[in-house]
């Protein structure tokens, strides 16, 4: 990291012109524009433009504020939603009761946590989209949807998938509850400068290969710790060719490669996505914003601390076979033999993973049968994801042995999908059409795998027990999820 450059940098200026030196990546430009205070031997104090909160990682932070008699510095830069522990059935609409008759929430502990969020948001004046609200949804789906997620911003949330927002050219990263409290109190965070990594994807994704397959292939290549300590910038023609929703999927899983943040430099795809959204700038402000956003992409001569290159043309649908997201292979492959791994740690990890997953080396991945298919999450719960799955399911049936949950990432995504008639496609095929939430991604609401159940899931983590204690997860794209639902075993649409 070139600290000499950072030291002479200025703040983001009102007219959106970026004064400063060349040789910087976009991540470095955003960083430099947010340094409130920089001192030798200390972390930089970074200003935070947008703070997203939810019910699970915030209650202790608000308690801390109260205990120290502190206020929320900028409630107008903070927004809350209920997503992690809320159910996705019985949501009758705005004002659905949290308790008593007609409440979909049956778990008293979950209810207490949601009540705490509502009480905290009311006390500190924070906008909240509660269960049943038309604006409710997964925190990483509603930020971009509202146009709050914008290029050049610093965005944090007490959730590791905050990296999602990097798709619009923001520097966005997950934080813990102590840091949530820090941001609430000060609207800043002390942070050590991360290193920068370029992941360049050349060529073009072949037909039938999706952004999910791309990011699974990237994680398989660099490993779950490969991005540790870095901000990743995804670049190259195959990344440029992705839709905004595809970029959101890719950036979402940066943390699964260990990178706290991943981003894509903004371009016309970004601007077209943002224009007209409720919180996007308009009129003369839109032009000012565009000027600034166009100054953000990294300088041609900017150097990265580490570079990785992939050829998109060699990729195919990917699925995970193990218990971390780096344990992935092309669908056409077979369950690997741990004995073939030279590294003893990797061999031991593979042996453990296969024992947990109940898989035998040499089994074709296409022969792995599932009983559950989950379509949703902050990784793949947006409209394009639902369309991709509906395209596969139209005129087909979910196999009798399979239960398929379709969980839109937000109530707005749900409404849009219903306008397009996608809900009818899913229900006609025999899938369950749900309300918005994190659902089966993380096993802390009623949507869970039972012990021994096996899923094909469009979510982001295949850790042991992630989708429910004893559950077994194969991470897949929405298209593979839909084809798998039809056949009952891991499959791509081309197999149908």
């Amino acid at each position: 990291m070139n600290t000499a450059v950072s030291k002479c940098e200025t703040q983001m200026k009102g007219e959106g012109v970026m004064a400063g030196s060349a040789h910087r990546t976009i991540a470095e430009k955003i960083w430099d524009a947010h340094v409130v205070r920089s001192a030798e031997g200390e972390p930089d104090l970074l200003y935070i433009d947008l703070h997203l909160i939810h019910e699970v990682t915030s209650p202790q932070a608000f308690d801390g504020l109260r205990a120290a008699d502190r206020k929320v510095r900028r409630p107008d830069l903070t927004i809350a939603t209920e997503d992690h522990n809320v159910p996705t059935t019985g949501i009758t609409g705005p004002g659905v009761p949290l308790s008593g008759p007609g409440s979909p929430v049956t778990d008293p502990v979950s209810r207490t946590q949601v009540e705490a969020l509502r009480k905290n948001c009311a006390e500190f004046g924070i906008r909240l989209h509660p269960m049943g609200d038309a604006g409710q949804g997964i925190v990483h789906v509603i930020g971009p949807q509202l146009g709050l997620t914008q290029p050049g911003l610093t965005i944090v949330c007490g959730d590791s998938h905050t990296s999602t927002h990097g798709a619009l050219g923001a520097l966005a990263f997950g934080i813990g509850t102590s840091e949530v409290e820090h941001v609430l109190a000060t609207q800043t965070l002390p942070q050590l400068r991360p290193k920068t990594m370029a992941i360049t994807v050349n060529g073009a994704l072949p037909d039938g290969v999706t952004p999910k397959d791309l990011i699974l292939a990237i994680i398989a290549k660099i490993g779950t710790g490969g991005g540790q300590g870095y901000v990743v910038e995804y670049r190259g023609p195959a990344v440029r060719a992705l839709s905004m929703e595809g970029r959101l999927t890719v950036c979402n899983m940066s943390i699964e490669a260990g990178a706290r943040a991943g981003l894509v430099a903004p371009d016309d795809v970004t601007f077209a996505y943002l224009e007209g959204r409720p919180h996007a700038p308009s009129g003369a402000d839109w032009e000012r914003a565009l000027d600034y956003w166009r100054s953000l992409p990294g300088d041609d001569d900017a150097a990265f601390d580490h570079e990785v290159t992939l050829d998109a043309g060699t990729l195919s649908p990917y699925v995970t076979w193990g218990t971390n997201p780096g344990q992935a292979l092309p669908l056409a492959a077979s369950v690997p033999d741990p004995d073939s791994l030279a590294d003893p740690d990797q061999r031991a990890a593979a042996e453990r993973a296969l024992a947990y997953m109940g898989l035998t080396p040499g089994t074709a991945l296409r022969d792995v049968t599932v009983d559950t298919v989950f379509l949703g999450s902050c990784t793949n719960g947006r409209l394009e994801d639902l369309r991709a799955a509906a395209d596969v399911l139209r005129g087909r049936r979910v196999a009798p042995s399979v239960r398929m949950l379709v969980v839109p990432g937000s109530m707005q995504v749900r409404a849009q999908a219903e306008q397009e008639g996608l809900d009818t496609v899913f229900t006609a095929a025999g899938a369950e059409w749900r309300a918005a939430g994190c659902s089966m991604c993380l096993g802390m609401n009623p949507d869970k795998l039972a012990p021994g159940e096996r899923s094909a899931s469009t979510s982001n983590r295949n850790f042991e027990g992630r989708q429910g204690k004893g559950g077994r997860t194969h991470l897949v794209s929405p298209a593979v999820a839909a084809a798998t639902a039809v056949t009952g075993h891991l499959a791509a649409p081309a197999d149908l």
Partner: protein, 197 residues
Amino acid sequence: MEPFTTHTGRAMPLRRTNVDTDQIIPAEYLKRVSRAGFGEGLFAAWREDPAFVLNQPQYAGATILVAGTDFGIGSSREHAVWALTDYGFRAVIAPRFGDIFRTNATKAGLLPVILPEAAVAALQDAIEADPATEVTVDLGARVVLADAAGLKAPFDLDDYTRWRLMEGLDDIGLTLRRTDDITAFELSRPAWLPVTA
């Protein structure tokens, strides 16, 4: 936050890599609204196996966890740190940590110590050979010592984090001293930036 200067205790070997925070504390335990009591959920699923290291009596009372690489990857849940400290751990030693877990640990008084793989393996071997082996993590000198095993391994931690941990300082209190800088920065922010209100 309780200051951390130097700590001597017995250690527990966890010979697993990629220990994600879902294993350290499963999601079903995240519904509490306080910081207390998470120790009962520590490694909840793995603890059901009587052979799991947490259930082995020779390691009872250990205060230092010695784990494989990429410890604490995955979810940002600080509850993972609270579960380890509530159970009694003061330090975790591993070749590499998940970024967010590592930051969370330094905010909640659990010392994350990065040692090379060979040093971690040597430490695990020494503990397994004699579970009574005393291990010292000296933050002032930035070194891990296990005298009985002849082990002395220096580790890196940036000066600022080390100072903050040794003083047990409240990060927010430190930043609030810079309120004038924050206010000045806010005045320079363009008016078109989004607000949620």
